[in-house]
Amino acid sequence: MTIARIVALIGVLALASSPARAQISDGVVKIGVLNDQSSLYADLAGQGSVVAARMAVEDYGAAAKGLKVEIVFADHQNKADVGSQLARQWYDAEKVDLILDVPNSGVALAVNQITRDKGKAFIVSSAASSDLTGKACSPNTIHWTYDTWALANGTGNAVVKTGGDTWFFMTADYAFGHALERDVEAVVLKNGGKVLGKVRHPLNTQDFSSFLLQAQASKAKIIGLANAGGDTTNAIKQGAEFGIVKGGQKFAGLLVFLTDVHALGLEKAQGLTFTETFYWDLNEKTRAFAKRFAERNRGIHPTMIHAGVYAGTLHYLKAVEALKSDEGAKVIAKMKELPTDDPLFGKGTIRVDGRKIHPAYLVEVKKPAESKYPWDYYKIQATIPAEQAFRPLDQGGCELVKK
């Protein structure tokens, strides 16, 4: 091999391995919506999240700005192994640049790690565990919509302060349920309340009667439901059958979505109080979004998950355009640098630990007589200002936060 050829080879190698200059990898920004498309979380996220991501790309005017964006989606079946495999395949073989949504904290924590290893980007909307911006925080992840700490802080505080000082937890037995129970328990204890008992039920449980009997026997004033989706609706529906509320106990639905209220019907859901960071009927902008969204999503109105997917995608595209690059960690860093502004959550910021900051709302489900039009379900009881809605930066144990 001649010297000249060796030099040429080194030159080629150097070019190939030089840090990617500002550019969109393979000319396309590819976004993968990874969520539950077929089981208990499919209505609160599912296809609706795909619709929301598509709307964001259209509303951003990506095509007009010369940005080529492609959206793919897949069903992780609430299994961490399936989700991990899909994420790896997307990143390695299909050149996906960003993964969106990912309900089920178990799956989300796995995808969080994979995204970090592969240097890609991850925007979480559905998954709740506050560990995603705590001990599992990553320079490649942004947690957009809400988290277990915010739910505990909003609902837990409100319930304890109105006299609900003894609790019994019904907890979904996986990462999300455990995190939610832990965060709510901390709030209850801090406010002088007591936890009288807890039971951990498998994800996607049909019959709650046995657990309801245990909750009744505990004599706790509040039955805290540290679960979501179908588990929550089944527990509340069967709770009515077992006379939980008539017996003087109250449910605290710690994570309830608009679609759950719709499925339960106002008759059964009325009076439930819980925390949301988005409601479709907040103002003109949210109503306009909801109308367009519902037309494309079988009439189902957007949950806060869908709103988070929409707003997160919008902000991601802004950062990509500003950087002229879709390289994972850089885009996430840019997203944290740019202030956020979208029609659904208003103005906000993203903290160094990946936590998106915006206000939260304590809502109460209306009585059937109070509901005037379809999907008119909530009364806003209180607005928790953005700076109080989420866990203080220094308490999460995130390594990205400078001590």
């Binding site: 208990l40 499919a42 039920h201 049909q206 046995s210 609706t233 059958e241 077992f242 006379g243």
Partner: protein, 294 residues
């Protein structure tokens, strides 16, 4: 007084709850057993047919204003007829083949039916109210028993025992059993065996739909309600012994109780305990507790 730290009073409550859930297992596994015993088909569509029963109840209420009691009567007939169509057009071609073919066909159908319902109605389910006559409940001292649950247990026990009686103790039942042993001979006696088999399948499917109507006021009417349940019910059938009528009834109730107690002592395992038992039973008695060794 306590047992393993749980008050005995609470245990009585859990026993009763277990029996109620067992009632569903019994009703569903009974239908499976009848179908397997007489048609030799492992009916994997059973869960979907249970779900269809609940949906028919919902449709009757929404579209025709017919309440729970009508649904209890109409839904099994409607779903049973769809079963008959399935049997006439497709299943009957498979009787001579290995069990596997029937299993694959019915499993495929279950996926299609569930997929269609999910596409149309989403996965959160639809609300269905308790019939007014059965709302409320009784305070038994050791627990609060909703009237509806008491009704479920009484009604399904009655249906199970009647079915058992008809098949094991009546002339019609003896024809059915004879037709499974030797269809050609029974046909020679002037009995229309193919029609009898078709009606039997329709009846088994109707039982699934009946369980679906019973479940509608307790759970959400959900496209996936059958998929969640059917695997457990198959485990029940395997434990009881495939094709044994009494076996599936007794095992259904017994496993409901076992599962109920698991929810007290180790709730995390409540969705796996039945499969553990199934594995143990298969090790010791491969033909099931009540099955005849072939």
């Amino acid at each position: 007084m306590t047992i393993l730290g749980v008050p005995t009073q609470a245990l009585f409550g859990q026993l009763l709850i277990g029996l109620i859930n067992g009632a569903f297992y019994a009703l569903l596994s009974l239908g499976l057993s009848v179908i397997f015993g007489l048609l030799n088909i492992i009916n994997f569509t059973h869960g979907a047919q249970y779900m269809m029963g609940a949906f028919v109840a919902y449709f009757l209420l929404q579209w025709a204003g017919l309440g729970y009691w009508w649904a209890l009567l109409i839904a099994p007939v409607v779903v049973g007829i769809t079963g008959i169509v399935l049997e006439r057009t497709m299943l009957k071609r498979l009787y001579q083949l290995d069990h596997l073919y029937g299993l694959l066909l019915t499993f495929g159908f279950a996926l299609i039916i569930q997929g269609l319902f999910r596409h149309e109605y989403g996965s959160s389910g639809l609300p269905y109210s308790m019939p007014r006559e059965l709302a409320g409940g009784q305070n038994l001292g050791f627990m609060f028993l909703p009237n509806y649950r008491a009704w479920v247990i009484v009604f399904s026990l009655a249906v199970c025992l009647t079915t058992w009686y008809v098949i094991e103790r009546t002339r019609l039942g003896s024809y059915l059993r004879a037709a499974t042993e030797n269809p050609a001979l029974v046909q020679a006696f002037g009995i229309n065996v193919p029609r009898m088999i078709t009606l039997t399948y329709g009846f088994g499917v109707g039982l699934a739909a009946l369980a679906g109507v019973l479940a509608a006021p307790i759970y959400q009417v959900n496209p996936l309600m059958g998929a969640d349940l059917i695997i457990v019910v198959f485990a029940v059938v395997v434990i009881g012994g495939l094709g044994s009528i009494m076996g599936s009834i007794v095992t259904g109730f017994a496993l409901g109780v076992v599962e109920g107690f698991t929810k007290v002592f180790y709730p995390e395992a409540s969705n796996t305990v039945i499969f553990v038992i199934m594995a143990l039973v298969l090790l010791v008695r491969p033909s099931g507790l009540f099955g005849r060794a072939s």
